[in-house]
Amino acid sequence: MILLIQYTLIFSSVLILVALGGCFSEHSGVINLGLEGIMVMGALGGALAMKYLPIAIPGFFYVLLVLLAAILFGVVYSSLLAVACINYKADQTIVGTALNMLGTAAATVLVKAINTAENVNNVSSEISYIEPKKKFIAYLGEFEFNWFMVITIIALVVAYVVLYKTRFGLRLMACGEHPQAADSVGINVYKMRWAGVLISGAYGGLGGICYILAGVSIWKFEYGVAGFGFLALAVMIFGQWKPHRIALSALLFGFFRALGNTYTVFEFLVNMKLPSTVYNMMPYIISLIVLALTSSHSRAPKAEGIPYDKSQR
């Protein structure tokens, strides 16, 4: 039972972080389908940091540096989306999809190259971080507490405050709803959209490192992040682009994802003799059902997906 709660919380954390990223980007008016690729890049940045940072660094700073590396990778990678979609007005769906494909592929190639350079016989795309991982975890009795749970709560509060209580948030959301109106009162729409996309890169990168630290101590980059970026988009839509509702819907999805990892501890579930794949499929099936049922009521930012062109007023 404790295990289920633990996994629910950690998977929800990933979903919350990434969905908040999507939320910032979409509120600025850019659909970020590239979250999947951004997560991979964030995971790569964090994993490389864990590979190369001396383990002697005190826990707090170690964690901080790994997070910063993940954020940096996410932000830099998301700037590709920003350049293409904001400055060059490319189709956001296509660029996002390209980022996803590029993300996993580039990370795999890079890690393989690093591994082969160290040892000619090693052609795997794995990075292991057994020791570093311990710095992210504290034990409260049987409960394996992961610092990402705290980070997520902070990130959630920050997102809420920034969106609804600050000047920046008001202007950001105006750009996603009615960029011409924002422009007419002197707001630089391009700048705000850049900000939205880069913030989504930061959140997505954090989500990526959180994801690979959730269960395992070794990550094979060929796997990408198994559709978690898309799941996060579903969470965002189900959460109506609002941070507090995103948190709740992430818990729902996180719960079903966690069930896939932990169902064996529940006797009645084991007795049903369903193949384990059924449980692994759960979050994705749930997302299909939830979106099918709720999408007719959902209210996305009005101008999302439409490149802003100053000359077309």
């Binding site: 959301m173 009615h178 109106a181 924002a182 007419s184």
Partner: protein, 512 residues
């Protein structure tokens, strides 16, 4: 000593490729006056205001504020100089509150955190001072168009703007709201604000402005004191000839019923309620029936249901006695229904097709234009297009092979009118057929509608313009929130009376 002006635009010339949009125009706005800018579409009013607002840079000429020359490179410069504008299409974020929209861009903050209490006090004080009633916490999407406009005005006042530009502000308002707006504008001028009022509605200009500058084809025709002129003179200045405002009509001689609608209900695409509720009406040969109402009261859905663009929830439609409630658009077209749509770009034309292809959109499959093997008879299409172009005076760069997108709005509309009338319909549905057109084109289209009526056809006109409603129609039905709430004889009613019904203040039982 020369007179002190709030804004002077001196000898402004702005060229676009192939056209001089503003040719040596001078406009001087006195402090505290309401100055109207009058002209047909394409006369250069918008270009001139865009120059003042920093959206375009003029090739020649200078702008002076309080006698000092200034450079206005973008809207931010204009804002900094105290120039504010209420755009024709409001620039409001629909899911934000009134207050958020007003402060957007100039938010009072403390370390980046919004201080809405301070903003609210200022907005309430301004709203009190100028009689601009708004609900600060209501969302834009939930409030009336009138309140949205007051929000836009408050946006300018909140920024302490001294020069206020109103771009066609009355187009979206009811007669009562227009009266209210006029009063607000007078209050603002009395408080020392200088107002530029763009319009092509002469009555409003006469009612509210102190002076009026008239533009025609990019040139400045002159500036006159409103008190020393009259509507006829202004219109002659605007169009360059005398315009006949009143449509000449013979008494009507109604014949058989062509269209009968029985309890028609149409769903809304925006909300869950029905947009059109149990509407019944009849249109006879030789009469023009007009559906009047404020925009968004179900007229669009009514026409979509009638023309077959949207399905009916319930009810029946009879065209010449045949039940066409479930007939396809093509069937209805063949049976004699013609439709001049509200949105000519969305439903009227394929913008990237040539003019000739657009003219046979509903008839290309007939034997006249398609041979037995299924190939188009291009020659026949060309001849047909040339005939319509000739008869309806559709002007375009390359004749039949002009791409529709490149034509002016008025000529696009003439092409549609020509196409729909040439089909020799029994019923002509015309939805806001003169929207966005200039006086000359409006006069022409009104004549065509009356000609159809005199030829014994049934005409159903949907219009938001009360002048048009009263002038053209033989019978007026007022639609409010999807229901017919009043029936009037245009000779025995007034704008004010219609306004009360359009705003939902009064209603009567109407039997089809």
């Amino acid at each position: 000593m020369a007179e002190q002006y709030a804004i002077e635009m001196l000898n402004i010339t702005k060229r676009f490729p192939g056209i001089v949009a503003n040719d040596n125009i001078t406009l001087q706005l006195r402090k505290g006056e309401i100055h109207a800018l009058l002209g047909e579409n394409g006369a250069g009013k918008s270009t001139l205001m865009s120059v003042l607002f920093g959206l375009y840079q003029p090739e020649e000429g200078v702008i002076k504020k309080d006698g000092v020359e200034v450079q206005i490179k973008d809207p931010n410069d204009a804002n900094a100089l105290g120039i504010g504008m209420v755009h024709q299409h409001f620039k409001l974020v629909e899911c934000f509150s009134v207050l958020d929209n007003i402060i957007l861009g100039v938010e009072p903050t403390n370390h980046g955190f919004l201080q809405k209490d301070i903003a609210r006090k200022k907005v309430l004080a301004l709203s009190e001072k100028y009689g601009l009633k708004v609900e600060p916490d209501a969302k834009i999407e939930d409030i009336t168009v009138g309140m949205q406009q007051r929000t836009e005005i408050l946006k300018m006042l909140y920024r302490d703007n001294e020069i206020l530009i109103f771009d066609e502000p009355t187009a979206v308002l009811t007669p009562q709201e227009i009266t209210e707006l006029m009063q607000i504008m007078k209050n603002l001028a009395a408080e020392g604000k200088s107002i530029l009022f763009i319009s092509h509605k002469l009555a409003e200009i006469m009612a509210v402005s102190d002076r009026c500058t008239v533009l025609r084809k990019g040139k400045c025709i002159g500036t006159v004191e409103t008190a020393k002129t009259n509507i006829e003179e202004l219109s002659a200045m605007m169009v360059g000839r005398n315009v006949n405002f009143h449509v000449e009509k013979k008494p009507m001689t109604p014949g058989n019923v062509v269209l009968e609608i029985d309890n028609m209900t149409v769903a809304s695409k925006i909300h869950k309620n029905n947009a059109v509720k149990n509407v019944s009406l009849k249109v006879r040969q030789g009469e023009i029936v007009c559906i009047a109402g404020i925009d968004g009261n179900g007229q669009t859905e009514f026409v979509h249901g009638l023309a077959g663009l949207d399905p009916l929830v319930s009810g029946k439609i009879f065209l010449e006695g045949k039940d066409v409630s479930k007939a396809s658009i093509r069937q209805k077209s063949i049976l004699g229904m013609s439709h001049i749509p509200e949105d000519r770009h969305k439903h009227g034309l394929v913008l990237d097709y040539t003019l000739e292809d657009n003219l046979v959109l509903q008839t290309y499959f007939t034997d006249e234009f398609t041979d037995k093997l299924g190939f188009l008879k291009r020659d026949a299409i060309r001849n047909y297009a040339e005939k319509i172009i000739e008869e309806y005076d559709v002007r375009s760069g390359q004749g039949p092979i002009t791409i529709a997108r490149s034509m002016s709005g008025g000529n696009q509309q003439k092409a549609i009118v020509g196409r729909e009338i040439e089909k020799a319909p029994e019923l002509l549905i015309a939805v806001q057929p003169t929207r966005g057109l200039d006086v000359g084109a409006i006069e022409y289209i009104h004549k065509q509608l009356v000609a159809q009526r005199d030829a014994g056809k049934a005409v159903l006109l949907v219009s938001l313009e009360l002048d048009e409603v009263l002038d053209v129609s033989d019978r007026i039905l007022v639609m409010y929130e999807g229901e017919i709430v009043g029936e009037f004889d245009p000779k025995k009613t007034t704008q004010e009376e219609l306004g009360l019904y359009m705003a939902g203040a009064k209603r009567m039982e109407v039997k089809a």
